[in-house]
Symmetry: C2
Subunit: 147 residues, 2 copies
DNA sequence: CCTATTTCAGATGGACTGAGATAC
DNA sequence: CGTATCTCAGTCAATCTGAAATAG
């Protein structure tokens, strides 16, 4: 009498907004599992990756580049600074700003996260060919660019 | 000196777990905007849609079919019942269970939500061809099926 | 005895708002 | 003056856990 798995009704099964949400949940779980032992979460990675690419940056800039809210950036930067992964110093040229800099340990930590997250991507995309993965990324990017 | 939009670093720009999350955010905003005036949210829709397809069901069954947690089903069923969109009666054949049934108003409400959500899908998928939309749905479904 | 269902109380991580202090 | 930055306090919807009460 009870259905064990997948009695999802038609209206939900092909609804893009819902499918994307379900896949995001799977992605989140894979990400959390991958980062479990590191003391970091995806926002930590986003900030470290941004600093590695663009060099020292203000918190406002980090927020813009990662789409993380300014107030959440504060909390993550606090945490990263407490762990010695970044340094935060006042900007002498604009005293409203902090300049956030990646430390050597931060760079090492980032590389560890890179490896672990690569595994999470593979987990998420299991069963897709390389071409399908590329197409998936293309479509997602396309949607984001049109916003 | 400041970058106005899209200074997202390489490591983040093509990371599937992150892209999916960003698109889910866009999808959520479109969904919330679409349902704004209805007093319902996506979970309300999921339960109503399930009841419309499979007929009267227990809360546990609804939770399984929609992947909504049992404890969250309680809250949504409460709300839908308060609004007269469903009826909840004890199951005489198994007194642990409630039988949840769609009311006539519930069915009407569902149809309203259908229309509004169709608009949200179009908003999300703006700029994708019909073939790309189909492929997007196929890839998302594929990922979910392999979990 | 074990398992299933409903329910509640609460924790969590993430997205977001509003406002204050400071500085451009 | 208005605007930008950093910070804090707090809201919100959603996911999820644990446990209690009841019943199969």
């Amino acid at each position: 009498m009870e259905i064990a798995h997948e009695g999802t009704p038609d209206r939900l099964r092909t609804l893009p907004t819902r499918l994307v949400n379900q896949v995001a949940l799977v992605a989140d779980r894979a990400t959390e599992r991958a980062l479990e032992a590191t003391g970091s979460r995806r926002h930590h990675y986003a900030l470290l990756a941004t600093l590695a690419q663009v060099g020292p940056a203000s918190q406002a800039d980090l927020g813009r580049r990662t789409r993380i809210d300014r107030s959440d950036v504060v909390a993550i930067v606090n945490d990263l600074a407490d762990r010695g992964l970044i340094e935060r110093t006042p900007d002498p040229a604009d005293r409203r700003r902090n300049i956030v800099t990646l430390t050597r340990q931060g760079r090492r930590h980032l590389e560890d996260l890179d490896t672990r997250l690569a595994g999470a991507q593979d987990e998420l995309l299991t069963g897709l060919t390389a071409a399908e993965r590329a197409e998936f990324i293309r479509l997602l990017t396309h949607i984001l660019d049109r916003q």
